[in-house]
Amino acid sequence: MIKRRFIKKVLVTSAVLFAFLLMCLIPNNNVLEPTQQLEYVSSEVNKIPIYLLDSHNMLGRTNVAINSKEIDKQARELLEILIKEKGDNKLPSGFKAIIPSETVINSLTYKDGLIKVDFSSSLLDVSTENETKVIEAIVYTLTGIEGVNKIIIYVDGNILTKLPKSKINLPSTLDRSYGINRDYSITSYHDITSFNVYYLSKYNDVEYYVPVTKYVNDSRDKVEIIVEELKQGSYDNNLMSYLNYQTELEKVDYDKNEIALTFNEYIFSDADNREVLDEVISAISLSIADSYNVEEVVFNYKNEEIHKSVIKMLE
């Protein structure tokens, strides 16, 4: 009796195992549908700077891959990434779009350095907190395209002359002098100057730069003030500078499209190998580029060139 039950159990178990084996061996003709839509891109892709909201709600400079070559098409592609939900698949990790999601680009034209872009009225739905940032993001992103200097923003055919919520005046024609991530440190009405300083920030070990437009009382050349600001660093813990506090800018020379900066030995991170940190080179070069109309920034030590940055190649 017990022997019969045992044999029965073995037979049932064997049958189940055999059936399972058969299922594994029989080919399955069902094709799995891809869960993601594939996007085919041209083999020629450009990496272009874009200014997006970072995890600290500041506008950070990062790069995105753009297929188009013509300026107006590049501008459109970049703006669509700035529109919430439209360009989500192209957003670098840690960054958010800022233009309200229902916004449509009605038209965009480019001529002689000027981009005119007409948005639908949904642009005006931006929050009070972000109304200045959205203008800064649009202006800095579009003027980051080589050949673009000025922007005019329209809403349903009318030039935008006031911020959407606060009604603060906007210049009709916008350029980088509008500022970004502004910081006012003015204590007197004498010798007021403004300039951009690019600080380093990080998200999950990926570095990017955050430009801050500073308004200060200082009569020195902007390049001297920029170097001083980078030496001191920022009070904001999320913004870093790798420029050694003992670095001295000994000389500045201007020549056509180039600015040459001579530093003391503290410009090097490694004096033996005479290496300058990429983070130092980029921060200084990006900051200089916004204040001076130059194509190259040369770094010198004791009358010898140690590095040359080509502005349009900076990442």
Partner: protein, 68 residues
């Protein structure tokens, strides 16, 4: 039309202030009295609700009424 909170004259005065002109120099340049210059500055500070010229300049920069 883009309506400014400053009058044309008030804007002229502050544009010269941020170029480091003194009250006397502003009066000479705009061909008005020093008292009038001080009145314009005082009116702007009142409009903005601030106490000093530096604070007025900061607010005007933020409002886009002045640019550097």
């Amino acid at each position: 039309m883009n309506k400014s909170i400053l009058t044309k004259r008030e804007k002229e005065v502050f544009e010269l202030i941020i170029e480091n002109y003194t009250t006397t120099e502003i009066a000479l340049k705009l061909k008005i009295s020093e008292k009038t210059v001080r009145n314009h500055i005082s009116n702007v500070m009142q409009k903005l609700g601030v106490k000093g010229r530096a604070s007025a300049v900061v607010e005007l920069l933020k409002l886009g009424e002045l640019s550097i």
